[in-house]
Amino acid sequence: MAEKISRVPVREQDPARRATNFEEVCYGYDREEALLEASRCLNCKNPRCVAACPVGVRIPEFIAALHRGDEAAAAAVLARDSSLPSLCGRVCPQETQCEGACILGIKGEPVAIGKLERFVGDWKLAQEPATAELPPRNGHRVAVVGSGPAGLACASDLAKMGYEVKIFEALHKVGGVLVYGIPEFRLPKEQIVAREIDQVRRLGVEIETDVVVGRTVTIDALLDREGYDAVFIGSGAGLPRFMGIPGENLNGVVSANEFLTRANLMRAYDETYDTPIYVGKRVVVVGGGNVAMDAVRTARRLGAEATIVYRRSEKELPARAEEVHHAKEEGIRFRMLTNPVEVLGTDDGWVRGMRCVEMELGEPDASGRRSPVAKEGSEFEIECDVAIMALGTSPNPLLAATTAGLATDRRGCITADAAGATSRPGVFAGGDAVTGAATVILAMGAGRTAAKAIDEYIRNK
């Protein structure tokens, strides 16, 4: 009977309205909807969804608990594998992970695992915080560099094991990419991110902002002078890439990181904040990932006519399907198989357009995707006054440059084994700093794995 109910639709803010505000797009399920959707899960013996989850969340188990109406039990199941369910429910690419593997998806619609996870995560956040039962402090101290998903997850787990943990954050606000990168309309800052961080603080984790590790204090100083037994690096991949085409330093060309940091971290869209943001009338965002979608939808909300330019076809867009769908609903234009070759400027140095070429898909490249090739003689111009480059990011070289004996690979990523151990004893790393830009859930998973390795390292010291 379970199969007969179709996937419970989720309520969303009206596209025309939300294209003018920064409130969350998706309202999520209410209790009735969540319980009904939970009833669709077949509770498979060999759950393919669990195998497809990067951290192996026991999905059928939490859904079964929810189906019984026992949110607390569902939250407890989630907590065993995920420290940030409210976040992952919102930002995980479910269609290529759990939901992509769901058996119901073969003939119909998969169970809305993400929305259910979000429901349980939000339920947990809304509860009166249980006075955390913490084990007695074990007398050892661990420093965590960066307060993004990897750092928060690592710090929580270590605190629960009895370690005294301090997170050092370079920016003035805690949360890393959750606050500077992902926009409010996808991940509410006060309601969700701040509360998740509160939970980490409640475990006794201390957070010091305005500390740029590598400059304000080095990892060596943390270990030798400040008495930390180990350090976890979860500093992310924050360095924006540019295309290296002519005209890229014109006024009006910005990285998606800059555009989003101004909007999200600095709240430039709110006139009571001092940080300016330049939006122009026509914005072109180059790239096809989640960051490109975030930037183009932010530009739209700030009143611009906004277009995505991507060199492959729609099928290859790396962004979550839901974000692409939402972007289209909001009136974003998509110009696929298009690649900029030059940013065009006015006489006084401002962007006036982009010279592009049409692309076609050739042989599959190293990533398995068909690589785009420029069509001979297909050059054309697109008019725009702002060009946003969303071409990916790489790890900041600062930590590797200022820490003796910390190995990195050719892309500047910190070299770490599966447990998170780096080339430097006592120094562990995980998340985007190791893998290059990836997902919140992978970073969280890496932070938790490293916490176990740090515990083992300190015990055997």
Binding site: H172, P240, F242, D274
Partner: protein, 293 residues
């Protein structure tokens, strides 16, 4: 929060503030900068460090009230505090890492223009403390706008002053004074210039004639100051560099100053708009010409 230990007016609209920031003070070296934020709604503003005292745990900044945010910084009083004070950021000056013997054989000329004179001070002081003799040129519009003359006199071998109107020292531009010194037979191995972008541009053009190696400290626009945003992109020797993590000091003869000046103006109209709005708010009435729309 970072308490303001001391506040002093150096010239009209130019304020010195000593900030309690022990971590920054301990790590700071000449040439580096900090990111300052006054309050929850404030901008992140990069300021080059004007002095630091690791023992006292203090860092000195000098700010000229020109935009909304610098005005906000200057409006704070001793006893109040800055919301954020992150640093030290960027690379220290190149000479900090030079072998002492080589360094002591070199003769430096520093040029400080306007508020840019302040960040020259810790460099000259550091060199003096390490036994290197340094000459300094300070330039300002007029006598009233001169800053750091006494402090600089105490650490410089020779101090020369240039004012546009001749109200003190040499009448004319710092570049003219530099050429005069060279004509008089003074020899320098390196010039370091910090000041308005246009001054640095003309210092670079002047020293190029004499093949005098010149370093400038760029005050590009920044958001985070740690390499994340790329707002501070600058072309140096035909390559794009980030002022915050690759600089802030660069070889002046390689910098594309025209581009750098243009990029500084990226948000100017908006800033002006914001300044007008702030003035309106201060005056206590709603804007009638729609600036707040």
């Amino acid at each position: 929060m970072y308490p303001i230990l001391e506040k002093r007016c150096l010239a009209e609209g130019i304020w010195l503030m000593k900030i309690r920031a022990p971590r920054v003070a301990r790590a700071a070296l000449p040439g580096q900068f900090v990111i300052v934020r006054t309050d929850e709604r404030g901008e992140r503003i990069p300021l080059t460090i004007a002095d630091f005292d690791a023992v006292e745990g203090s860092v000195t900044i000098v700010t000229q009230a020109i935009g909304v945010s610098t005005r906000k910084i200057c409006a704070l009083e001793a006893g109040e505090a800055l919301a954020d004070f992150a640093g030290p950021l960027g690379h220290p000056s190149e000479f900090v890492g030079m072998p002492m013997e080589e360094l002591r054989s070199r003769r430096y000329i520093f040029i400080g223009g306007g508020v840019g004179t302040a960040p020259v001070y810790p460099q000259v002081k550091w060199l003096r403390e390490h036994g290197v003799e340094v000459d300094v040129i300070i330039g300002a519009k007029n006598r009233q706008m001169l800053i750091y003359t006494d402090e600089m006199r105490a650490v410089a071998d020779h101090l020369y002053i240039a004012t546009d109107d001749g109200s003190e020292g040499f009448k004319g531009l710092v570049t003219q004074l530099l050429e005069k010194l060279i004509a008089e037979g003074r020899h320098y191995d390196e010039c370091v210039a910090i000041g308005p972008m246009v001054m640095m541009k003309f210092v670079a053009l002047t020293t190029k004639k004499y093949a005098l190696k010149t370093t400038v400290s760029l005050n590009a626009l920044m958001v985070d100051g740690t390499g994340m945003c790329g707002a501070c992109r600058v072309s140096v020797g035909g390559r794009t560099r980030f002022t915050c993590v690759d600089g802030p000091e660069f070889d002046a003869h390689e910098v594309d100053f025209d581009e750098a000046m243009r990029r500084q103006g990226m948000y100017r109209t908006q800033e002006q708009r914001a300044a007008a709005l702030a003035a309106e708010r201060e005056a206590g009435h709603r804007c009638k010409i729609g600036l707040d729309k």
